[in-house]
């Protein structure tokens, strides 16, 4: 056996622990089943608009007659989505609508329809009518077909947005909501699994053998990494299926601009928050020796996660309030509140920087505290250790 350098063996230990978590917990039947169920639900939800929208893609049947009928025909053909029948007179066209041969008819500047035509259709027909009228007059003025086409298809307006990030308020509310829910779920699940794993190792006493070849920080760190990877993979699977189905059904075009950058920055916030909550979960988990007791020591963590989430929802509704401002800067609440607030409003750069700095500091503190707690109490069996006792112990 070649003896590896201490550095590589340190990383190797960490990765072995993380790898075991991923194999045993991530590939467990329970996790795979719940992942598949979630993915199916997400897929169905993403496909739902299309399924419910039913005949959206069906071509409109339309009858044309009278003035400008030929120009209308070329306009509607260019627009697409119309099944066109030409009639000799307005009367015939009207009759065709009455008989149900076509849904609508346009003849001599009149729109015939069985019921009130829906708004979208009417708008499209209006636009086509205007264009057709222009086309006809241009042709009468003696322009060639090519000249008419050029005149009718001007270069679209170039857009210059002056107020940056001013997207549709409904969309940003929705984006913020999704971010807060995902952050909450993606922290809650690993926090609970990390604590469970620590208690499992402690209650089964396996930690005694583990510690003969691993350092406490490797055991704790490997767990946080492993469960983080599992959460991320689960999320990516969900998002991929959601986006994939949306793209396949053509809903994807509606995705608000900036979604990708919001997703990336949210992952950054999540990573820092995972270190913060994950190491604390491991630390407090090691205070108890039985799974039944883990709930009570986890309560403060679950509470602050829940409060962060509630704070984020509050922020969505009052993003510019002082409360939202404070909440999005003070850790641990900032972990969920800030990315949510960033989605709904423009946050000054200094606030973001301060929030990140404080959260990183808090995460570093949690890492030190969690690791110390873990180191000192993981081998202690018997009744639950008080926090103060654990900190007084000298391992």
């Amino acid at each position: 056996m070649s003896s590896p350098t201490p550095e590589t063996s340190r990383m190797r230990g960490l990765m072995l622990v993380a790898g075991r978590e991923i194999r045993v917990r991530g590939l467990s039947k329970a996790n795979l089943v719940s992942l598949i169920v979630t993915v199916v639900i997400v897929g169905v939800l993403a496909a739902l608009p299309t399924i419910l929208g039913g005949g959206e893609d069906e071509a409109e049947t339309i009858g044309l007659a009278g003035t400008n009928a030929a120009a209308m025909e070329s306009q509607l053909k260019a627009a697409g989505g119309f099944d066109i029948t030409m009639y000799d007179s307005a009367g015939e066209a009207e009759q065709a609508v009455e008989d149900g041969d076509v849904d609508t008819a346009v003849a001599d500047g009149t729109l015939y329809s069985e019921e009130n035509p829906d708004q979208g259709l009417q708008t499209r027909l209006d636009a086509a009518w205007q264009a057709a009228a222009v086309q006809t007059s241009l042709a009468e003025a003696g322009l060639s077909d090519a000249e008419i086409a050029a005149a009718l298809t001007p270069r679209p307006l170039a857009t210059v947005t002056l107020a940056e990030g001013e997207t549709d308020p409904v969309t940003s509310y929705f984006t913020g909501l999704v971010i807060s829910i995902i952050m909450f779920m993606m922290l809650m699940t690993p926090v609970q699994y990390i604590a469970m794993g620590v208690v499992e190792e402690k209650s089964s006493r396996i930690v005694e053998i583990l510690l003969t070849s691993l350092k406490p920080w490797q055991l704790l760190g490997g767990k946080v990494i492993g469960l983080g990877v599992i959460s991320l993979v689960n999320l990516v699977a969900m998002v991929a299926v959601g986006l994939g189905v949306s793209a396949a059904t053509g809903v994807l075009a509606d995705l608000p601009p900036g979604t990708a950058s919001a997703a990336i920055s949210t992952i950054g916030w999540w990573l820092i928050a995972l270190v913060l909550f994950g190491t604390l979960a491991g630390g407090v988990g090691s205070l108890v020796s039985r799974q039944e007791e883990s709930g009570s020591v986890l309560t403060p963590l679950i509470m602050s996660l829940t409060l962060s989430y509630i704070g984020a929802i509050f922020t969505l509704n009052a993003p510019t309030s002082t409360f939202a401002q404070v909440l999005s800067i003070v850790p641990p609440f900032s972990a969920i509140t800030m990315p949510t607030r960033m989605a709904i409003t423009t946050v000054p750069a200094w606030e973001i920087a301060l929030s990140i700095a404080l959260l990183v500091l808090a995460a570093a503190g949690a890492l030190a505290l969690g690791a110390q707690l873990y180191k000192r109490s993981v081998l202690y069996t018997g009744s639950r250790l008080k926090l103060s006792e654990a900190l007084r112990r000298t391992a």
Partner: protein
């Protein structure tokens, strides 16, 4: 050479160890015995680095035992521990990897050990679905998977059936034959007698007797047991302190040749020998002294 030197350890007001020292030479099997609460587990935990001593040190091959060297040790803690929801073979291989083996090496070693322990058909089962004795075998496999240089085993035989005891005994002897120092604790003194080269007896955190099995036995020898076919009562006529054990005479503090002469004169001598104490007797003697 594994040397445990002058360990002291207190838990609050309880003094668990008060100057415990013992050594195991390469290839030596050392039995570690003592009453409940004497300090065996505490000593072994300190040796494996899962507990810190108040003072004292562990020296391996002349240098203080460090993490890297300890990773090449095999350890079986008194409170058994395995991942209940991990498959048997996967679990053994995982520990092999933790001890520095490559994944392939670890898998191969795990399969070989399972074969040796008659557990091959259970390799794909969760550990929690095995019987207690089989979990114990898996625990042994976990401590042996990386072909350890030294073994520290806390009550490795408790809970094993006779067949498994033999497997375990053979495993220990094999490692020792390859030059590994082996220390194990047990309350089954017949096993200690059968397997150990030397014995260390601990009582209340102090070593009260230590040495090779022969030396300990020789030291404790005092009584001469004599059986004579005679109607006479020789209690008065034999020299030294004489007591009766059934029909036998037990003689202490006397010249054995003179005892033999008197006994032979009285009748046919059917048994004449010094009693070899069992380890159990030495142990009882040592702890009650």
């Amino acid at each position: 050479m594994l040397e445990i030197k002058d360990l002291h350890k207190r838990f609050g007001d309880t003094v668990a160890l008060e100057g415990v020292s013992l050594t195991a030479a390469p290839g030596e099997v050392v039995g570690f015995v003592g009453a409940n609460g004497a300090g065996k587990t505490t000593t072994m935990r300190i040796a494996m680095g899962v507990l810190a001593a108040d003072s004292g040190q562990i020296v391996y091959n002349g240098a203080p035992l460090d993490v890297a060297a300890r990773r090449r040790f095999g350890y079986m803690p008194s409170e058994r521990g395995l991942y209940p929801k991990m498959k048997t073979a996967e679990q053994i291989a995982y520990f092999g990897e933790l001890h520095g083996m490559s994944r392939a090496e670890a898998k191969r070693a795990a399969a070989a050990l399972l074969e040796q322990l008659n557990l091959t058909e259970r390799s794909g089962d969760f550990v929690q679905d095995l019987s207690l004795g089989n979990q114990q075998r898996v625990q042994l496999a976990v401590s042996l998977v990386h072909d350890p240089e030294a073994l520290i085993l806390d009550e490795p035989f408790s809970g094993l059936d006779p067949l498994a005891v033999d497997v375990m005994g053979t495993a220990l002897k094999d490692r020792a034959a390859n030059g590994a120092p082996v220390i194990f604790s047990s309350h089954q003194l017949d096993l200690i007698e059968r397997l150990c080269d030397s014995v260390v007896i601990i009582g209340n955190g102090k070593i009260i007797a230590a040495g090779s099995v022969e030396a300990l036995k020789a030291k404790e020898v005092k009584q001469l047991r004599v059986s004579v076919q005679t109607p006479q009562d020789l209690t008065e006529s034999l020299p030294g302190t004489v007591t009766r054990d059934g029909d036998d005479y037990l003689v202490e503090d006397a010249d054995d040749q003179e005892v033999l002469r008197i006994a032979a004169a009285a009748g046919r001598v059917t048994h004449f020998a010094y009693d070899q104490p069992t380890i159990a007797e030495i142990f009882r003697e040592a702890v009650t002294r």
